[in-house]
Structure formats: C-alpha cells, structure tokens
C-alpha cells in the first residue's frame, strides 16, 4: 500500500482542482476549508514518504508495471521527497496567507479560478519532481508555465497582462529549447527515461560528442530561461512587480527552485559528472552564477518599488544556488539545496510581509516605508529577520548557507568566489538596511511612536511569524535539515 502514496498525492491535488469549479456556487468558506484539508493530507503524505524513503530506501512507481524502457515511471527517492516536502510546506503556509490577502487585486469571483490554478500548479510541480522521464517532465513544465503565467495575469491590471505575456514568451522559448535538447538526446540514445539515457550517454559520448554538446547547450539555456538564471532573468522583476503578493511568493520561493532542481537532476543524472568535466561546464556555470549574484544585487539597489527590488534580489540569490551547483561537488550540491530551503523561507517572509504592508498601507514605494515599524511591528519584525538572513548575519539560515558555500568554494579550489560572497553580502546590506532603518528609526507621517498591533488579519500574520521562526530555528540547529539533504545528495553520483 505504501508505494501507492505518490499517486494518491497527485490524484488528490488533481481531484480538488477539478472539483472546485463544480460546486463553487455555495458559500466560499466550504471550498477554502476543503482545499486546506486536502493540502494538509498531501503534506502529511509527503512527510511520511520523506520518512519512509530515508529509512527504507527509494522505490519506483511504474505505470502499468511496464519496464522503464517501455512505460513511464515515478522515482521516489530522498531527493524528490525532500523537494516535494519543501514545496508543500511553503505552499501550505502561502495558502493560509492567500485566503485573506486574496483581496490584493483579485476580485471576489476570481477566488475559485485562483485556487483551481494553484492546485494544478502544485500537481505539475509534484509531477516534475517525481517523474523519471524526460518528455513527461516537459509536459509538466508546460502545465507549470501556463499556470504560473495565469496566476500573474489573474489580477486584472494592464501591467499584469504585459508582464504575463513577456513571461509566456520567454518561458516558451525555454521549454522549446529544452524539448530540442530532449530530441537530440533521443536521436542518439533511443530512450527518454532519465537513467537509461544516462547510461547510454557514457558509451555514446565517445562516438557522437557533438549531439551531446548541442543538447547540453540547449538544455542549459532552456532551463536557465525558466529558472531566471542571470542573463535570462528579464521576466522575473516585471512578473513580481505586478503579481499578487501570494503568487509572487509562490513564483519566486517555490517555482523557480523547482526549475533549479530539474537543472540539477538533468546535469548530474542524465549527463553525469565526467561529461560535465570534459566540457568544463561546472566552471562556466559558477561564473554565470557569480555574475548573477553581483549584477542582481546591483539592479536591486536602483529600485524604488519594493516588489521589484525583491525580484532582483531573487535573481541574486538564484546566482548563489547556481554557484553551489557549479561547484559540482558533494558539499557544493548540499549547500545549493540548503540555500533552496533558506532562500525559499526568507523570500516568502519578505514577500508576505510586503504584502501585509500593501494590505494595510496601500503603498509599495520604499520611500514610504519610514516609521512603519511602529504601525506594523509584527510584519516589519519578520521583514527584519528575513533581511538580516539575506545579508547573511549569523543566527539565521542565510548565514549558514553563505558560510558553507564559502567552505565549499575553498574546498573546490575556487576560492575567488569568496570575494563574490562578501561583495554580495555588502550589496544586500546596501539595499535592505535602508528599509529597516527607515521602518524603525524614522518617524511615520502620523508621528506615532507607540507600538500598535498590525491592522492585518491574523491569518495573514500567522504564516509570516511561523516562517521567520523557522529561519532562526534552522539557523541555530541546521544539522537536522543537513542530514536529510546529505541523504538527498547521495542519490547523485557526484
């Protein structure tokens, strides 16, 4: 019975997405509680799978009991369960936030469609991480790109339509070049199953190297476009500036990370470390990541719209993860996955607290942030914790990932990247500290200096507080998470 659980996860998410339009006429609270119940069930199944897989070992779920060469299969191993656990925890908390904040520009009627899209988005993310077939991954990536674009364009404003259109175009170029890579690999190996292709590539690398070089190039560009890695990040800031805060939290904390994990899965399982080293791709990736870190922070400084600034800082933090991946070592990968967790938490807190500020103060310009600390102590407090995490000040998970990344870079023999780490720490400080200083030290227009509780529904504040406690908690005791991550990285032959 245990091995049916992954399909139960997928079916539950899909069934709620299909059932919501059918009976939405009654009052909306029923739908919300049902949605939350389903999310809780799926979350507990994911936690149980994570526990089961780490104790019993990975297993395959083969559709129709066919051999992987013939039929499709899901691979449930420590890596995929860990990432799905991360996805579901983040989306569960963001869902709690979005129930009350959905008024951020989304009409009352739109709620039903917003949650249909969110459940299909979850279904496709689970599918991408579970599936072990290259073409099946492409189909789920398409579902993910349609749903992410529509949760951006669901807010009926002209900036949203333009941002969503640009996102569709770039996303589509990304998917099609990924598909071109799959076609080139199929041309040479005759399989689409990831492991079989990986085995075939070792022999084919001697006879037909050009196919693999072109396929790697297209796949890296394609996934780079989708994961907003630096030179291809153009769509991310616009998408964030206009999207509702709960969808931009999902977009930058979760969806981008899923594409990065696909990037890792393909680089290290399909191509394998020796082909990568032969083409010295890891050093190229590290360079792209380092440029991304520095340039992303530069652009973030110049912004006056908070959400756009957070978008650019996401681009910078993605550069971190890319450096971790580029190290192509056991430590490098575990740092990259750890930073996926820590950045996911920090970015969600930042976006949700900014959403709370917009909810109460109806403003998003950085200049109008002075004195907010007194009016909204809880959300600005969480913003403070997440911001010092981003800068990398000790006691937060951000510091742990930066510190380990420095060690990994040293071990990997490319110590120069420590300079990049320090520089980006300073750059982060340059654009986060002014907001904190303005919020807590300057006085607000109403000249109110006594702390008054945020006039924001409790359902919006609860996730913000929970995640910021997690940030500090994981910052203090990271080894719990680290063991899980090491189990996950063992599955790659790095």
């Amino acid at each position: 019975m245990i091995e049916q659980l992954p399909i139960v996860n997928l079916l539950l998410l899909l069934l709620t997405a299909l059932v919501i339009p059918l009976f939405k006429k009654k009052n909306f609270k029923v739908t919300l509680s049902l949605n939350f119940a389903v999310l809780l069930i799926v979350w507990s199944i994911s936690v149980y799978l994570l526990y089961y897989v780490n104790t019993e070992g990975a297993f395959y779920y083969r559709f129709g009991n066919y051999h992987p060469m013939i039929g499709l299969e899901l691979l449930i191993d420590p890596f995929s369960t860990l990432i799905t656990f991360f996805i579901m925890t983040m989306v569960l908390l963001i869902f709690v936030y979005s129930t009350s904040d959905a008024s951020d520009g989304i009409h009352q009627r739109e709620y039903g469609r917003y949650y249909i899209l969110m459940f299909i988005l979850l279904f496709s993310m689970y599918g991408i991480i579970y599936t072990n077939d290259l073409f099946n991954k492409y189909v789920f990536m398409e579902i993910l790109s349609i749903t992410t674009c529509s949760i951006i364009s669901i807010k009926r404003k002209k900036q949203n339509y333009a941002a969503a259109f640009r996102y569709v175009m770039l996303n589509e170029i990304g998917s099609l070049s990924y598909l071109f890579g799959v076609a080139l690999l199929y041309m040479v190996t005759g399989f689409t199953n990831i492991e079989l292709v990986g085995q075939q590539l070792e022999t084919v690398w001697q006879t037909h190297p050009t196919n693999i070089i072109i396929a790697i190039g297209f796949m890296i560009v394609g996934l780079g476009l989708k994961a907003a890695i630096f030179p291809f990040h153009i769509w991310l800031p616009d998408a964030h500036a206009s999207a509702p805060s709960s969808s931009s939290a999902i977009l930058s904390a979760v969806v981008v990370k899923v594409y990065l994990m696909v990037f890792v899965k393909i680089l290290f399982r399909v191509y394998g470390i020796d082909i990568l080293d032969a083409l010295n791709i890891p050093s190229m990736i590290m360079m792209v990541g380092a440029v991304g870190v520095v340039m992303g922070s530069f652009f973030a400084i110049a912004q006056n719209d908070v959400k756009r600034m957070l978008g650019y800082s996401s681009v910078a933090q993605i550069g971190y993860i890319v450096i971790g991946i580029g190290l192509a070592s056991y430590v490098g990968l575990s740092v990259a996955i750890f930073h996926v967790f820590s950045h996911g938490m920090m970015k969600t807190v930042l976006f949700l607290s900014v959403g709370a500020v917009i909810y109460q103060r109806k403003t998003r310009l950085i200049t109008s942030f002075n004195g907010i600390g007194y009016l909204m102590p809880i959300s600005m407090g969480a913003f403070f914790i997440a911001a010092i995490g981003m800068i990398g000040i000790p006691l937060t998970s951000g510091f742990i990932s930066k510190f380990n990344l420095g060690i990994a870079a040293l071990e990997g023999g490319s110590g120069v990247y420590i300079i990049v780490l320090i520089a980006s720490g300073i750059l982060n400080a340059i654009y986060y500290l002014p907001i904190i200083i303005a919020a807590f030290l300057r006085d607000n227009p109403e000249k109110q200096t006594v702390l008054s509780k945020d006039k924001v529904p409790i359902l919006m504040l609860a996730p913000i507080v929970i995640i910021s406690l997690f940030i500090v908690g994981i910052g203090l005791f990271p080894n719990g998470l680290m063991t899980l991550i090491e189990q996950a990285v063992n599955t790659f032959k790095v």
Partner: protein, 128 residues
C-alpha cells in the same frame, strides 16, 4: 560530391534547424505581439518536425499491424509520433493563452506593439 550526399542525408534536420532559427529570430526581434506568437508556433513546428525526422525510416510503413497477415513490413519509429501528438496540443494551448493576453493588452493599452507598451509603462508608475 561527398559533401552534397552528406547534406542530402541530413536535409530533414537542416530544414528543422532552419525553421527553429527563423522562429527564434521572429520571437526575439519583432515587436508586434502577434508576430511573436507566430514565431513561437514556427519554433514548435520546427522541433516536432525534428522529432519526426529523427524517427523516420526510409520506405517505412505507418505503424499499423494488419491483424491477419504477419507480413514483414518495416515500420517507422512510432514513439516520436506519440510525443509530437502531445507536443502539438501543448503549443496550441500556449498560443490560445497568449492570444487571449493579446486581446486584453490591446483593450487596456490600445496597442499591440511592444515598444509602445514599454513607452506607456515608462510613463506611469505602478499603482495598486
């Protein structure tokens, strides 16, 4: 002469790659939104054409087994045909979604030219 024969062997793939580059060029350089959607369609068709060219077998029959006679007919590779059946539907739904966005963009911005939209956007800041 050897080169010509080589080119003729690869003619399908070269055609597919040419279409792909044309589609990419259209998406990247044209500022009219409808033309960019067309570019995406050209790219999609190019890749499905590439997939079929990969699975093609000279004088291969379509993959239909005739129930009674088990004649020794050489079939083409059926798998790429299945994959592009799925791929075509994906590109169609992406096109429909982006067309509906273009309808909305035209209604709100009054233009479907990327440069004019960027100009209008630079004009006013984002207000909630």
């Amino acid at each position: 002469m050897e080169l010509l024969k080589d080119v003729l062997d690869h003619i399908n793939f070269i055609g597919a790659v040419a279409l792909f580059v044309i589609g990419l060029y259209t998406v990247v350089t044209h500022s009219n939104l409808i033309k960019r959607i067309l570019g995406i369609n050209i790219m999609g068709t190019a890749i499905f054409f590439f997939f079929i060219a990969v699975g093609n077998v000279l004088e291969g029959a379509p993959p239909l087994i005739d129930p009674d006679g088990n004649s020794e007919v050489v079939f083409i590779n059926p798998l790429p045909s299945v994959l592009i059946l799925t791929g075509i539907v994906v590109v169609v739904s992406i096109t429909v979604y982006s067309l509906s966005l273009v309808v909305r963009i035209y209604e709100t911005y009054g233009t479907i030219d990327q440069k004019e939209i960027a100009a209008i956007q630079k004009g006013e800041d984002y207000s909630d």
